[in-house]
């Protein structure tokens, strides 16, 4: 059943082809294309879920299909479907580029799906670039006054630089171990990590994913891209792409599990700087998406806590948090794209009166924001506490203390959003929501609450998944 092993990837390859054909039409049929793509993306999620139990190796063992990769593929498929759900009226992207928008989202998803299954350095790099190049095109696709081009160029440059770092690191790893297979590299790692070449190689190899996760010092693109990209594109970057980055960081970090004191120290420093910097700078932001960009830098720092612990519990909580972050961040972005239905950038102050304009959206917003802030009962709280727990179990007392203090810091700017949405008045008209959006709202709120209070099923799934990585 080799076909089924490669099932989700084949499906999305086919989907990309279908959308490519759609994009060739001289006069675009916007509504029809949208509904077709949405339905096919929904089917894609079902395909990814059906392939959840697959296990096996492909392409001379460069490609491993296991529970870990399949969970992230399902998450990606869900992420694509959700982003398409909120792309009903893509005001910020011209109608003749709509099909391209769907196309590059799909190829990006395809690239990321291949990424989570790659266990060989070159395959990882090729898959990473497939997903990155799609995003490099998507970011400047927005019609705008030049801010989109600035964002696109920054994204491309910093992406290219971090790819350069990554290739440099990969070459070190290859040079020291004479293999590009992770399975071979891990055998040589214990001796290697004690030497500078191994340490540098591994950390630089992770740079590509630090970039995607916007970990300090590869975070500079985040604020501009978040602000400059179309809301829906940014949603995809802020949800699906982050989850994949966590997956790959876990795969690479597993190489250093148990041996590298200096390795974890480096990661710890990056984690501390990321969360502190992200939270402090987010406080002064006025633009909602820009604030979320800095908050994503802070969240990258939290996720690293799980990576650092280098134990099953830590990896489990990192996977849980990555999935949770996908849901809660998407919830907030959904509110942004509904409130700014004309595709503009939303200032935090423009949320004024949301409780009157749309009680449902304001409920989703408050749950999403509280989840990001780590307030119970939400997946964000549970995820963060699990991360802290596993970091503490590995003896990082100071890291946990700094993380907890950061949680307090972050609350300040998250509460400013709640303040604007719940307290400030405005006389703008109510926001009408279509019924699919209403259902989406209820589903997201229920997910945030239910899996926050009863996380056991997700945790057991994540635990089973990380067994194949460690």
């Amino acid at each position: 059943m080799t076909m089924l092993l490669f099932g989700p990837e084949l499906y999305y390859l086919g989907l990309a082809f279908v959308i490519f054909l759609l994009s060739l039409r001289r006069t675009p049929k916007v509504q029809q294309d949208y509904h077709l793509t949405l339905v096919l993306a929904g089917l894609g999620f079902l395909v990814a879920v059906m392939c959840l139990g697959q296990k096996g190796d492909l392409f001379f063992k460069a490609y491993r299909v296991d529970l870990f990769s399949q969970i992230f593929k399902a998450a990606l498929a869900l992420g694509l479907f959700l982003v398409l759900m909120i792309s009903r009226n893509l005001a910020s992207i011209e109608e003749r580029f709509r099909a391209e928008f769907y196309l590059f989202l799909t190829t990006c998803t395809l690239g990321m799906m291949m990424l989570v299954s790659s266990v060989e350095l070159l395959t990882i790099y090729v898959a990473l670039e497939l997903s990155s190049y799609s995003l490099y095109i998507l970011v400047p696709l927005r019609k705008g006054d030049g801010i989109d081009v600035e964002a696109g160029i920054k994204y491309l440059f910093i992406g290219a630089v971090s790819s350069g770092f990554m290739l440099f690191g990969l070459s070190y790893l290859f040079g020291a171990t004479h293999s590009t297979y992770l399975a071979d590299i891990i055998h040589n790692m214990p001796q290697l990590l004690a030497s500078p070449i191994g340490l540098m190689g591994l950390i630089l190899a992770m740079a590509g994913f630090f970039f995607k996760l916007s970990v300090f010092p590869f975070h500079f693109w985040a604020p501009d891209v978040y602000q400059g990209g179309a809301n829906q594109v940014v949603t995809f970057i802020a949800t699906a792409s982050k989850a994949v980055a966590v997956a790959l960081l876990l795969r690479l970090a597993a190489l250093g599990a148990g041996y590298g004191y200096s390795f974890t120290q480096v990661l710890m420093v990056l984690s501390i700087i990321s969360m502190t910097l992200g939270n402090l700078v987010a406080i002064i932001q006025r633009d909602f998406k820009r604030m979320l960009a800095y908050s994503s830098i802070a969240h990258a720092g939290y996720v690293l806590m799980g990576v650092i612990s280098m134990q099953e519990a830590g990896f489990t909580s990192a996977v849980y948090y990555a999935l949770a972050y996908l849901v809660m961040n998407f919830t907030v972005f959904m509110v942004i794209s509904e409130v700014a239905s004309d595709g503009r950038d939303l200032k935090i102050a423009e949320l004024a009166g949301l409780w009157r304009r749309s009680p449902l959206l304001s409920m989703s917003l408050i749950l999403g924001i509280f989840a990001l802030a780590g307030v119970p009962p939400s997946i964000g709280f549970t995820g963060k506490l699990l991360l802290f727990t596993s970091a503490m179990n590995s003896g990082f007392f100071w890291l946990v203390l700094i993380g907890a203090v950061n949680g307090t810091l972050s609350l300040y700017y998250y509460l400013k959003v709640v303040y604007a949405a719940y307290f400030v008045e405005s006389d703008l008209p109510p926001i009408e929501l279509s019924w699919p959006t209403r259902i989406l709202n209820y589903a997201l709120c229920a997910t945030i609450l239910v899996f926050g209070v009863a996380p056991n099923s997700i945790i057991e799934l994540a635990r089973a998944a990380v067994k194949s990585v460690l």
């Binding site: 119970p376 727990t389 307090t408 709640v418 307290f423 945790i459």
Partner: protein, 490 residues
Amino acid sequence: MTEHMASFPVLSCMLLAPVAGILILLFLKEEQGFLVRMVALVSAGISFALAIYTFVGYDKTLGGLQFVEKYPWVKAFGITYFVGVEGMNAPLLLLTGIVIFTGVLTMWELKERVREYFIFQLALVTGVFGVFMSYDMFFFFLFYEIAVVPMYILILIWGSTRKIYAAMKLTLYLMAGSGLIIPGILMLYSSSGLFTFNMLQLHGVAFAPWIQKIAFVFLFLGFGVLAAVWPFHTWSPVGHVAAPTAVSMLHAGVLMKLGSFAILRVAMYLCPAGFQYWAQFMGLLAAVGIVYGVFVGLAQTDLKYVIGYSSVSHMGIVGLGLATGTIDGLNGAVFQMFAHGVMTALFFSAVGYIYDRTHTRDILQLGGMSKIMPVASAFFITAALCGAGVPGMASFWAELLVLVSAVKVFPIRGLLAIASLVIGALFALRVVQNSFFNDPNPKFAHFEDVTPFLALPRMILIGFMIFFGLFPQVMLALIKSSIVPFIQGM
């Protein structure tokens, strides 16, 4: 501690009644005002009734933990859903029931965004119930945060007097406290080597003294913020003043007790050696708080600030009782949590009624309210008498127990506390005289007195206050049944 399983999930029902209320409210419309209030009242009423049931139904002779429910929740991290009742939390569950039930009745006249108000208030109270009944640290902390965060919105939207500032200050202070609690809890979790959040199991672990000393500081300071331990109390008077009436009632009445209860339940229970080491320090902070609260209160002219600072002082008594580490001290401290809760709720409830009509809380402006609103004034005066520690009221016994044992353990601090309480009594009487027995302010002459329906919640509060003032043994015997094994286990 022996555990007696519940035949019927009383505690889960108590916890879920407000949640069910919230779910129903989500699907109601703002226009259905009466229905909204009824749903809130019924769900609060169910919790109240169940709280009375557990209070009365707890078998003192059997002792131990009763009405226990225990389900494994997250195996990978050793999290259990574990709730139960014993002598020291039964009174606090009852207190929560009383305050939420009377709180809903007090807010009956609310006009603005009623549905949302009750949703957030019920969310808050779910958290409070959860903290008092949880014996698993994960759930304890989860509920603790649930109880804290809705305060921000409640104060922000329905509050008064510098509410934006007060709401943010309060939330950030309390969350900073949480920032200390997390490392404290997790330190105990990971150094136990058991990988469990179950407090009873963690109690069985003999932690190294240095771990206990460090963890105790984190937990004491973290929870101490919510208990308004001096010098971390500054959010509390500001927050009380800004909050709407029922939220002040819940907040001063119940929420601050979460802090002191958590110090008892988590910090002292799990780190006895840490407590022995820091007891002097705790006693010192508590004594300073008592004196400070009284003297700063003297200078206030806003009735709510007066109550706010008296709360700091009364919570100092709780802290002093805990610091003694004796049976009588802890007994009195828990009793004081209950007594002060009912008393403050009555205070705020009475002030809220007057403020809703006169729109002032200035002592000098109010003048002779007793001639205009005799019943509303009587409620306030009763609370003031209770606050001054008049015999026949619940807090008399509580303060007596605490002060007697405090004088034995810390003679100077105890005497200082007694002295400042005398001044406090003097000052309570001055407030009462100025705002209720001076010349009536003609501006307020046309206001009506409390109607029987609105008097009901205040009467319930007075009823409990006097009942436990006359029959303190009911409460003390119950608390003692768990304090004695608690001290022996330390």
